[in-house]
């Protein structure tokens, strides 16, 4: 069969709209998810047993179930439980933010843990107050160490965002599938969709490696 990639050009605008939805969704959920993840990461190392238990259950549950199931649950069950209609975008944002919060909390937790006890000892020896210990010693290092993993979490989120097509949100994947079904040209359309995802995710993963190296030299470890 003859492949005809020029067909893509006819649907350029639709694909770009879909891509914009994917990017928008990803960016919103990166901001919300990272903030949520930071607090959950702190909650998991908190002294309060209740806070630890609640945050652990949340994180383990979201890491232990498929994102697709989470999405379906939030799209079909949450409106029933809350008794309100949620727009597609709201549901998508809620689902992916909760997912992102769970994975980034692990990143923050690991980076908090990686700060050696000798640093705290040094703080004590220098007589630094607790607030200065946290804001000037622990936090900058923890965030710096978390950056490469956070970046790769963002790439994961970008890829997982394609799942919202399964619940009918008009993202890049959804638009691509629609075009491919209507034109009966899945090879051209789906390949181009895959390439678009690749062209965004691949440079990002390279950036992760670069940033990782720079962070490592900066921390001199």
């Amino acid at each position: 069969m003859a492949l005809d990639f020029s067909i893509i050009l006819r649907f350029q605008e639709a694909l770009l709209l879909g891509l914009w939805m994917t990017v928008k969704l990803t960016l919103i959920c990166i901001v919300l998810g990272c903030s949520l993840g930071f607090f959950i990461g702190l909650a998991r190392t908190s002294r309060s047993a209740l806070l630890r238990a609640v945050s652990s259950v949340y994180v383990e549950f979201f890491r232990g179930t498929p994102v697709l199931v989470q999405l379906f649950w939030i799209f079909f069950c949450l409106p029933l439980i809350l008794g309100v209609e949620l727009s597609n975008l709201t549901s998508g944002v809620i689902a992916l933010t909760l997912y992102m919060g769970a994975i980034t909390s692990e990143t923050f937790r690991a980076s908090l843990k990686s700060i050696g006890p000798e640093q705290l000892d040094a703080c004590v020896a220098l007589g630094l107050p607790r607030r200065v210990q946290v804001t000037n010693v622990i936090l900058p290092q923890a965030v710096l160490r978390a950056v490469p993993t956070l970046l790769s979490n963002c790439v994961s989120l970008f890829k997982e965002s394609a799942l919202v097509s399964a619940v009918g949100m008009a993202d890049l994947m959804f638009v691509g599938q629609n075009i491919s079904n209507n034109t009966a040209r899945p090879i051209e359309v789906l390949t181009v969709v895959a390439l678009i995802y690749f062209l965004i995710a691949f440079p990002l993963t390279r950036a992760v490696t670069l940033v990782e190296r720079r962070v490592l030299t900066k921390l001199a470890i």
């Binding site: 179930t65 498929p66 199931v69 989470q70 890829k159 965002s161 789906l190 690749f198």
Partner: protein, 220 residues
């Protein structure tokens, strides 16, 4: 809220069958991924660019595109491109297996690079040829070092199997979708199914955590 729960109308038969399909997909994809991931890792570390570049492209492509795109692509395009028509189960296993292969190859590569240089030098000193060095020195050390990541990837693919529901393979997620629509009981069905996925993933992730802690203790 005025919702009354009714778990009675959720029939377990189809869900059980779905779970079996999901587990079958997981095990088969893991066999492909664990076995073929290692040679793929050797290819991406090859010194010859014509070998290394295609292998790297393969790995990066699977790692940098959404799994759902890969699965839909596989189901629609492979039969048209290669004129082969396989059962949907076989297609699902192949798509997931290739995906896992790429991720496992990265895990093996990291582990292979962590094999201490001295061990290879010792192998050369003992007069082992490259194949023997790979089989007797690199393989056992690297495989042992990569077990936690392989397990994590394996459980990842268990969760990714839910995606085949979109291309109508009758796995756990597919049965859940059907059941939720038939019985108008989405909350009960999807909660139950989420718990089933969780009940399988969670113990494995605990084992991974245990293995990693033990490894850290051994290293320190």
């Amino acid at each position: 809220m005025g919702y009354s729960f009714d778990f009675q109308s959720v029939s377990f038969g189809p869900l059980w069958e779905g779970l079996m399909v999901t587990l079958e997909l997981t095990v088969a994809a893991n066999i492909i991924g664990v076995v073929l991931g290692f040679p793929l890792a050797l290819l991406i570390m090859s010194r010859f660019a014509p070998v290394r570049l295609p292998a790297m492209l393969f790995v990066e492509f699977f790692r940098c595109t959404p799994a759902i795109v890969q699965i839909v692509w596989f189901f629609y395009c492979v039969p048209m491109l290669f004129n082969v028509f396989l059962g949907s189960m076989t297609m699902g296993i192949l798509a997931l297996g290739l995906n896992l292969m790429a991720f496992n190859a990265e895990a093996y590569r990291a582990a292979i690079q962590a094999v201490p240089r001295e061990q290879l030098d010792a192998g050369i000193a003992l007069g082992l040829n490259p194949l023997q060095r790979t089989l007797y020195i690199v393989l056992p050390t690297a495989v042992r070092a990569s077990i936690p990541v392989l397990l994590t990837n394996g459980i990842g693919i268990f969760q990714q199997t839910a995606l085949v529901a979109i291309v109508a393979v009758q796995d756990l997620m597919y049965q859940a979708k059907t059941l939720a629509t038939e019985t108008y009981r989405p909350i009960e069905t999807f909660t139950l199914v989420a718990l089933v996925y969780f009940a399988v993933s969670f113990p494995v992730s605990q084992v991974v955590g245990y293995l990693e802690r033990r490894r850290q203790l051994m290293m320190s």
